[in-house]
């Protein structure tokens, strides 16, 4: 086994045991990237000469573990672009709280991963730097928006990575790439230093090779931060204490509304098998109702774009990034933004501006916020009866590069199962649960299952996911590059 293939757990042990462990690990990964990332294009910024190894001395819980980071999280003195032209050349003068915490734990901040521009997308194709490819089949998308992070972890181009999730942007690419991805409860992980997209929805979370790795990372990432006024002051348990426990007695809800037209038969089959495994492991599975599920995408594309249009107002060519030089200030704003933003960013800025504009606010934005309440109430009611809700992460397996680029609505609908957890602020995890077998695909492509829990019950997700992972072998499969 080569060091680049390590899990976080193995990398930790390797660094603790070998004096040159951290250096050997980063060199092994750097070589792997040099050899194979030209195919996958998981990274947008990677410079081995700028990777800082941890100082000797006190060895933290992530000592020597290289962690890759989505390009919308700021790292001091590393260019941060959100995969957008408008931020090219932006060198942040500070570390995001999650980066500070990783460094304090001894982790090695390794490289920056590709993403959809400003996290606007479900395929990693809207990046200014070009698309990332799915390591399982390079003709397919890795999902998005954290597609670079997920592809890097799946292709052994990273030990683990940070992603961000506003409507499914950690879980859907984790599903498409066959890895673990956790979106924490809203407020669980500090957003300080995350370039904002939808401020009431955004969360940073881990993308990893195993459930255990996600728990190890969450022990470092979670917790209150006075720099983020929406950070929750709720105690953080030891997430690894939930691993390796029995699933006996766990109450699992299966939402009737998730198994409808539009769900791919192979995905459905894999999910039904997963439910069977849960039952065999002692979980009690019951049907639950989330009647407002069908409105989630519509609500999201009001609320998220409204917040995005407001957040992206700050990009005007004055303080950082790209500027189109003109003789008047007005033209400078208009031309910089026109040239700096890609097509999907413009679409969302315009849509968000529209739903917030005078005369339309009540009919769209306020209406969206009210239906958001109903979606949240659906979950409140379901969680009176069950501990976790289980369903598909994505309605389809990975699709081909280019397949949905000209149909924004079809692209938006690929987030139909993930969006609700953001609207309701709930923690949710993707774990691999199978592969496509059908003749429609050139090679097997990953399928993922999503588990959702009550606020701040990430531990329950880890308990269920870890028991399922131990009973199956999906996480042991890796693509050949």
């Amino acid at each position: 086994m080569e060091p680049y293939q390590f899990s976080v757990k193995q990398a930790k042990e390797f660094s603790a045991k070998n004096q040159n462990g951290p250096s050997e690990l980063t060199q092994s990964l750097a070589k792997r990237i040099q050899n194979f990332d030209s195919k996958v294009k998981a990274y947008v910024h990677f410079d081995p000469t700028r990777v800082l190894l941890p100082k000797d001395g006190k060895k933290g819980p992530l000592y020597g573990v290289p962690i890759s980071v989505k390009d919308n999280i700021v790292i001091e003195s590393w260019e941060t672009t959100c995969a957008s032209k408008i931020l090219t050349g932006f060198i942040p003068p500070y570390d995001a709280t999650v980066i500070r915490k990783l460094r304090e734990a001894g982790a090695v901040i390794f490289g920056k991963c590709n993403m959809d521009e400003f996290a606007f997308g479900s395929s990693c194709e809207t990046s200014f730097f070009g698309p990332t490819r799915n390591p399982w089949n390079l003709d397919y998308v890795p999902g998005g928006s954290s597609g670079g992070s997920a592809a890097a972890v799946a292709g052994d181009l990273a030990i683990a990575a940070l992603g961000t999730d506003t409507g499914g942007s950690i879980r859907q690419p984790a599903s498409f790439c066959g890895v673990v991805g956790l979106k924490p409860t809203y407020g669980r992980v500090s957003r300080y230093g995350l370039v904002a997209f939808g401020s009431s929805l955004d969360q940073i979370g881990p993308i990893t090779k195993t459930v255990e790795d996600a728990a190890i990372l969450m022990n470092v990432l979670a917790g209150h931060d006075s720099q983020d006024s929406t950070s929750a002051d709720v105690p953080v348990p030891d997430y690894t204490s939930f691993l390796g426990k029995s699933m006996k007695g766990l109450k699992v809800g299966i939402p009737k509304e998730y198994f409808v037209k539009g769900l791919d038969p192979e995905v459905n089959q894999a999910i039904q098998k997963t439910i069977g495994v849960f039952k065999d492991l002692g979980a009690g599975c019951v049907e639950v109702n989330l009647p407002n599920t069908k409105y989630a995408v519509a609500v999201y594309y009001i609320v998220a774009v409204a917040e995005a249009s407001s957040n992206l107002g700050r990009f005007d060519g004055v303080q950082y990034g790209f500027r189109h030089e003109t003789s008047s200030l007005r033209d400078l704003y208009f031309e910089t933004r026109d040239q700096g933003f890609g097509a999907e960013a413009k679409r969302r800025i315009l849509l968000g501006t529209f739903v917030l504009s005078a005369g339309y606010y009540d009919a769209y934005y306020l209406k969206g916020l009210k239906v958001r309440t109903l979606i949240k109430q659906d979950f409140d009611r379901a969680f009176e009866r069950v501990d976790v809700i289980l369903g598909p992460t994505s309605p389809t397996p990975p699709f081909k590069v280019g397949e949905k680029m000209n149909d924004p609505l079809a692209m938006y609908l690929s987030d139909i199962y993930t969006i609700s957890a953001n609207l309701a602020g709930l923690p949710a995890i993707n774990i691999p649960c199978g592969f496509t077998e059908g003749a429609g695909h050139a090679s097997p492509l990953p399928i993922g299952v999503q588990l959702v829990a009550k606020p701040f019950e990430e531990g329950t997700l880890f308990r269920a996911a870890s028991a399922y992972e131990q009973a199956t072998q999906w996480h042991e499969k890796h693509p050949k590059l």
């Binding site: 003068p93 200030l329 208009f334 933004r337 529209f354 009210k370 609207l423």
Partner: protein, 95 residues
């Protein structure tokens, strides 16, 4: 098709110059998305409070205190254009 949008007006509010061909395409895209969003009209929300935020948060206050920082130079170092300690932009008020 229900809602029509005035792309010139929205682009003006969003501070975006759009090319003529972009206007046509974006108008079509936006109207299709709004037609999809229109399904929300069937939901009765008369007695429902809006949720703008999921956490039961009120204003979060803390003491405001000054700390030494060298950040101002770093902040200016990535300015597209600067002059001394200032961000530089084209003249705003014409003589």
């Amino acid at each position: 098709m229900s809602q029509k949008i005035n792309i010139e007006q929205i682009a003006e509010l969003a501070r975006l110059n759009l090319k003529p061909e972009e206007r046509v395409k974006l108008t079509k895209d936006l109207e299709a998305i709004l037609a999809y969003v229109d399904q929300l009209r069937e939901v009765d929300t008369k007695k429902i409070e809006p949720t703008s935020h999921v956490l039961p948060l009120q204003n979060v206050f803390r003491k405001d205190f000054a700390v030494p920082t060298r950040i101002s130079d770093a902040v200016l170092s990535h300015a597209p254009k600067r002059e001394g300690k200032f961000f530089k932009v084209p003249k705003v008020i014409e003589a």
